[in-house]
C-alpha cells in the first residue's frame, strides 16, 4: 500500500473508532449526567495514559522540541476555546446556552483532533511500531470521547446514527492532518517531537480544562478519582504490549 494511503487509513481508523462511542445508545436512550461524568473520567485516564506514552516517545527524539510542541498544543486549545466563547449560536433544536456548550465541546474535540492527526502522521516517521502505538492510543481514547459527545446529543433527540456521525466528524481532522504531517515529517524528521508534543499538550489541557472539571461537577470525587487512576494504569499497561 502506498505510504500516504496507509497513513490516511490509520487516521481514518482512529476517526471511525470515535463513532463506536455512540454504540451504547443503541441500547439505552439516555445517559445520566453521572454516566457522562464517568465517561469523562475514563476518557481522562486514557488520555493521560496516552500522553505518558507520547511524552516518552517524544522526549526520546528531543526533550525541548517536545516541550515546545506541548506548549503550542496548549495554546492552540486555549485559543480555540476563547474564540468559541465569543460566539452566540443556536445549534439545531438546542437552546442557546446548551447549544453553546455542545458546540464548544464538539469544536474543542475537533480542534484537538488536528493535533492528534499530526501525532498520527508524524509517528510514521518513527517506524511502524511507533505509528501503531500512537494510532491505537488515540483510537482507544477516541471511544469515550465519542461516548461523551453522544451522551450530550442523544437526549436532545439526535439519532444514534447522527450521534455516531457527529462523533466521527469531531475526529475527521485526524486522517486529514495525518497525511500532511506524515509528508512534512518525512521531509523534516526533526519535526516529529514537535508534532508529538503538540498532541500531548493539547490532550493534557483538554483533560484538565474540560473533561475533569465536568466529571467532578457531576459525580463523586472518589469515583472519578478511581476511574481516572484505573484507566490511566490500564492505558500504560496496554501500551506496553504494542
Amino acid at each position: 500500500m502506498h505510504p500516504v494511503a496507509l497513513v490516511f487509513a490509520y487516521g481514518l481508523l482512529t476517526a471511525l473508532a470515535t463513532g463506536l462511542g455512540a454504540l451504547p445508545f443503541a441500547f439505552v436512550r439516555t445517559v445520566s449526567p453521572k454516566g457522562v461524568a464517568y465517561a469523562n473520567a475514563v476518557a481522562s485516564g486514557l488520555m493521560l495514559g496516552a500522553c505518558f506514552g507520547l511524552l516518552v516517545e517524544g522526549t526520546e527524539s528531543g526533550t525541548w522540541p517536545t516541550i515546545i510542541g506541548a506548549n503550542l498544543g496548549i495554546l492552540f486549545i486555549l485559543a480555540a476555546q476563547q474564540i468559541l466563547l465569543r460566539f452566540n449560536v443556536s445549534f439545531g433544536s438546542l437552546g442557546s446556552v446548551a447549544a453553546r456548550r455542545t458546540l464548544l465541546m464538539i469544536v474543542v474535540m475537533t480542534v484537538h483532533s488536528f493535533s492528534e492527526g499530526v501525532a498520527v502522521g508524524a509517528s510514521f516517521g518513527g517506524g511502524m511500531t511507533l505509528a501503531t502505538l500512537i494510532t491505537v492510543a488515540i483510537a482507544v481514547h477516541n471511544i469515550p470521547e465519542g461516548l461523551a459527545i453522544s451522551a450530550v446529543l442523544r437526549p436532545r433527540g439526535v439519532s444514534v446514527i447522527g450521534c455516531a456521525g457527529w462523533s466521527v466528524f469531531s475526529s475527521l481532522p485526524q486522517p486529514l492532518m495525518a497525511v500532511p504531517a506524515y509528508l512534512f515529517v518525512d521531509a523534516f524528521a526533526p519535526a516529529l517531537p514537535y508534532g508529538i508534543g503538540f498532541a500531548a499538550g493539547a490532550m493534557v489541557l483538554m483533560v484538565f480544562v474540560e473533561l475533569l472539571p465536568e466529571a467532578y461537577g457531576q459525580a463523586r470525587r472518589r469515583t472519578v478519582a478511581l476511574l481516572v487512576s484505573v484507566s490511566l494504569a490500564a492505558m500504560i499497561l496496554f501500551q506496553r504490549f504494542l
Partner: protein, 243 residues
C-alpha cells in the same frame, strides 16, 4: 555514602520543606481562595509529573506486577479513606471548627505523605539519581500542600508555628516509609515493580481525589488546567535534562 543515609537525608528534606509552606501566612492571616486553588493545582501537577518520571524509569520492569501493584495502591487509598470516614472530606474547609475535622485532616495528610515516602523509596531503589530527583520534586510539591494545610489550621485558631510544626509532623510518615521501602526492596528486589506500581497508583489516585477537585472549586478551570499542565511539564523537562 551509604545509600540508606542518602534516602534518609533526602526524604527528610522532602518532609521538612513543609515548614516553608507556612511562610505565605506569616504576613497575612488568610490566603485568597484562588491562591489556595493554584497551590492545590501546583501540588497536583508536580505530583503527576513526578509520578510520570518514576513510571518511565521503571517501565521495563513493570508490566503485570506493576499494573497489579497500581490497582492495589489505588484500592488501598480508597479503602483507607473509607474506613477513616474521610472519603468525602473537604480538606480545605476554612470554617469547620469541629475537633474531629482537625484529626481527619492530619490523618489524611499523613497517609498522603506515606505514599510519597514509598515513591521515594522505590525511586531510590531504581537509581539514586532518580531518587534524589523525586525527593526534591516532592519537597517542592510539599510546600504548596503545606500552605493549604496551614491555611486550614490557622483558620481553626492554631498558631502559625504550631501549624508549620504539624505540617512537618504529618510528613514524618514520608521519611519512615521511604527508609522501609528502600530497605525492603534492597532485601527483596522482587518487590520493586509491585512497590513502584503501588506508589504510582496511590499517588495518582490521591491527586485526583483531593487537591485537583478542590482546586476547581477554588479557582477557574482554565487557570487550574494551566498551572497543573505547566507544573507537570516542568518536572518532565527537568527530568529530561538532569537525568
Amino acid at each position: 555514602m551509604n545509600p540508606t543515609i542518602t534516602v534518609l537525608i533526602y526524604s527528610s528534606i522532602a518532609a521538612a520543606s513543609a515548614a516553608l509552606g507556612a511562610i505565605p501566612l506569616r504576613w497575612r492571616d488568610s490566603i485568597p481562595t484562588a491562591w489556595i486553588g493554584w497551590a492545590n493545582a501546583l501540588a497536583a501537577g508536580l505530583m503527576l509529573g513526578t509520578a510520570y518520571v518514576i513510571v518511565v524509569a521503571g517501565l521495563n520492569r513493570m508490566v503485570w506486577a506493576g499494573a497489579t501493584g497500581a490497582f492495589l495502591g489505588i484500592g488501598f487509598i480508597y479503602w483507607t479513606h473509607l474506613i477513616a470516614h474521610t472519603e468525602d472530606i473537604d480538606l480545605n474547609k476554612l470554617d469547620e471548627t469541629g475537633p474531629e475535622y482537625g484529626y481527619q485532616v492530619l490523618l489524611v495528610q499523613s497517609l498522603h505523605s506515606a505514599s510519597e515516602g514509598v515513591a521515594i523509596g522505590v525511586a531510590m531503589s531504581l537509581n539514586i539519581g532518580l531518587g534524589v530527583f523525586a525527593a526534591i520534586a516532592f519537597a517542592v510539591h510539599n510546600v504548596p500542600e503545606a500552605t493549604v494545610l496551614c491555611a486550614v489550621l490557622r483558620a481553626r485558631g492554631i498558631r502559625l508555628r504550631d501549624a508549620a510544626g504539624l505540617a512537618v509532623m504529618t510528613n514524618l510518615s514520608l521519611i519512615l516509609l521511604a527508609i522501609v521501602t528502600f530497605a525492603l526492596i534492597t532485601a527483596m528486589p522482587l518487590l520493586l515493580p509491585w512497590a513502584l506500581g503501588f506508589a504510582m497508583g496511590a499517588l495518582v489516585y490521591l491527586v485526583m481525589v483531593e487537591p485537583l477537585p478542590e482546586s476547581y472549586r477554588q479557582a477557574g478551570n482554565t487557570s487550574i488546567a494551566l498551572v497543573t499542565s505547566v507544573a507537570m511539564g516542568i518536572v518532565v523537562l527537568l527530568n529530561g535534562f538532569l537525568l
